[in-house]
């Protein structure tokens, strides 16, 4: 790049800022966890993951982090994902494809409305206490 003017520097900073903010997890209250066990991947979790990343980028949702986890135990409705948004119950969605993923971003994360036709329950209560039993 050639020498910059003040405006160009500011523009570059704005562009790069959002790229770097994705790396920062502080202040990211919402989280999408994608079940990426063998079952999930085989059922298309990879495409779902890509769709989430693309959609979040599109809507410039910078306070949502996307992480992956192992099999959630709902292999019959893979791919499964869990969405955690402050002020809303932690929600597990099953049978998520690219289209549903987009709908979850638009309806659940932006609109704060559950996507009811894909709701599933946790297969069993979590026996690990949040504070590690201490």
């Amino acid at each position: 790049m050639a020498k910059m003017t003040l405006e160009e520097l500011r523009k570059l900073r704005n562009e790069k800022q959002s790229a770097l903010q994705k790396r920062d997890i502080e202040g990211k209250d919402s989280r999408i966890v994608i079940g990426m066990g063998t079952c999930g991947i085989a059922a298309g979790a990879k495409v779902v993951l890509d769709t989430f990343l693309a959609a979040l980028d599109e809507y410039k949702l910078e306070d949502v982090s996307v992480t992956q986890t192992g099999c959630m135990g709902l292999c019959y409705v893979e791919p499964t994902i869990e969405v955690m948004v402050p002020g809303m119950p932690n929600t597990i969605y099953g049978n998520v494809d690219a289209q549903t993923a987009r709908k979850i971003v638009e309806q659940h994360i932006i609109g704060k409305q559950l996507v009811t036709d894909h709701l599933f329950d946790r297969p069993a209560a979590d026996i690990i206490q949040k504070d590690g039993g201490r």
């Binding site: 790069k16 800022q17 192992g70």
Partner: protein, 595 residues
Amino acid sequence: MAFRNYILVCGGTACESSRADQIYQNLVQECKDQGVADEVQVIKTGCFGFCEQGPIVKILPEDSFYVKVTPKDAHELIAEHIIKGREVTRLLYDKSESRKHAKVEDIQFYQKQFRIVLRNCGFIDPENIDEYIAREGYEALEKALFEMTGEEIIDELKTAGLRGRGGAGFPTWMKWNFSKQAQNDVKYVVCNADEGDPGAYMDRSTLEGDPHSVLEAMTICGKAIGAQKGFIYIRAEYPLAIHRLEIAMAQAREYGLLGNNILGSGFDFDIEIRLGAGAFVCGEETALLQSIEGRRGMPQPRPPFPAVKGLWGKPTVINNVETWANIPVIITKGGNWFSKIGTPDSRGTKVFALTGKIRNSGLVEVPMGTTLREIVFDIGGGIANDRKFKAVQTGGPSGGVITEADLDTPIDFGSLVRIGSMMGSGGMIVMDEDDCIVDVAKFYLNFTVDESCGKCAPCRIGGRSLCNILEKITAGNGVPEDLETLKSIGRAMKMGSLCALGQTAPNPVLSTMKFFAEEYRAHIEDKLCPSGTCKKLVTYSILADKCTGCTACVRKCPVGAITGEKKQVHVIDQSTCIKCGACLETCKFGAVVVQ
């Protein structure tokens, strides 16, 4: 497309020497091999500060903190963590079942820290200017060039209350103001990166992890005082820091952030690197300037101070790396913000290099006013191997020791002087009960004697004399009068030496004599070294009632000083014994004792 994972590999010198570069290469290769290269960004970043547990690899957004990673772990990290989303538990910092997921904020080491200077270390890629820019980089320069006058910049530093982090704690704004007011066509800005205290590596890590912060700050100073040329004086033995600085400077020039007409403002400023050969005295500002001029690095009498008459006789602002790294933040966030951190005496934070007999060696940045106990026990995790705390040495060869009694003193420039030590550049060496205090004093004295430039007699002759007396005491030939002699030579050096090197060289001796007089007396009067460090004052012997006659020590002794038949009590011949301690390590029955 956006990346789904970011792998941050520590690229500080400590981790690099544990093959972090190979880990980085392997991770990049594995990403390609396993087909995720375009979804995962592998970044080599600056020092995380947690050097004890290095090499460190952090994976985001899960915030998994992997420690002691080896190059061959790369395959598993990609295959398990990235592809399957399962953390590699065996490499996590906290492996306990209940806390499988050790987040960075859960690690005690980081909890009491507050990072201003190290804000970008371990987060950005220091070789990529875009990442620095994205983290508010060069925003302070914009402000300084387009919105502020030189006076306003200096006023902001005054409001902030920033004091020089090189050791003396001189108010930074005053230095700048002197240079600004000096009438001259040519002025200079110098960065002192000649970090020389044993065990200190704050400045090296800052340059390695965030070189642009220093470049930006120096340019701001150029604008404030009216200088167009800067020098970074760095020792040649910091190759990685030099390499990253060179990359950073090239990128800044390309972007027009260094050079002529910066950002179209009409202001010109450029920086040159000058390599030092690693003489400790060149960390002293006047000697450093001599060295930049191509002369032998020897201190000059002050006044005139460099701020008025420095490099080639021109007004020169010289600050150390850590001071520079604070400045962009002060300009961006304002002096008021900065002045709320720390204590009234010392604003802001301080970076310490925590080393010695400590569980978590590393680089820590804490607000001024944090107590030593918090640093040593909460952040540092206490003394390694469950030994007992003895003292902390701060301020390097110019400082003193701090004992248990003063551990709760909130640290700032003033309080450390009041308890007989000093801030120095931030080296903090922790000692336990196995360290001999006389030996420690001797170590520092030997260092300053080696590094004395020899120009003035008090330092050249006084240092050598102190050293000789300590040598005599640790050899068991000390006499009670020696203590008085040590004190009077020390006082003379303090009063008569030309520069801070000689003026402060006696500090380690005087301070240890003050707090550990008993230990000195034991060496002199009882000819005993309580910690068993001084070889000539130690005797190894075998307790008859504990010796089983196994002959293990007889076989191990390299000089054949131990005699004894099987199942008979063994004896050490004191005239042959070289006090290597091999018998002590070998004996399984605790029969060998050292006194």
